[in-house]
Amino acid sequence: MSDTPQSSTDARIAEIVNSNDVVLFMKGTPLFPQCGFSSRAIAILDHLGAAYETVDVLQDMEIRQGIKVFSDWPTIPQLYVKGEFVGGSDIMMEMYEAGELQALLSGTAPAQN
């Protein structure tokens, strides 16, 4: 646990989610996810061809704890689209299967490759 007040962590997280259309808070990196749930979230985003940013919470204890409070959500990964909390990997999968995630991401930039 860090001694940084939640308010300053909240401000950092707000800056991240508001300056990136699609951002995934995850354990590890897209190439080397450190958790099966983060790996699944990346697989879904890649499959949909969305451009996204990631934040590796394992490199930042302040965000690792702070994002749970910020989103009122107990687990990681967490997906934000256009500043709004979407959910974790289970919700991403449910939305993907229902065609809802495709619709949500259709308003964002495609991946550059």
Partner: protein
């Protein structure tokens, strides 16, 4: 770090008495579960709200003692 499936089911049922709870031990190690929860109380709620209701039923264990719970929620059809 493990938690028996029966305990997960009991906690969910205590909070959502009508819930139909199906738990699968994914890895056979008592630590990686999938839970499908079907309850009329999810009606009209967003997916995030539905999952939060289950997380609340688990009383803070989610993300702690329960790391690997893959959750699916639905309204009875």
């Amino acid at each position: 770090m493990a938690m028996p499936a029966a305990e997960i089911e009991a906690l969910i049922r205590a909070a959502l008495p009508d819930a139909e709870v199906t738990i699968t031990d994914l890895a056979g190690d008592g630590d990686h579960y999938a839970a499908r929860v079907v309850s009329a109380s999810f009606a009209g709620k967003t997916r995030v709200a539905q999952h939060k209701m289950v997380y609340e039923a688990l009383g803070g264990r989610m993300g702690g003692v329960l790391h690997a719970l893959q959750l699916t929620t639905a309204v009875p059809t």
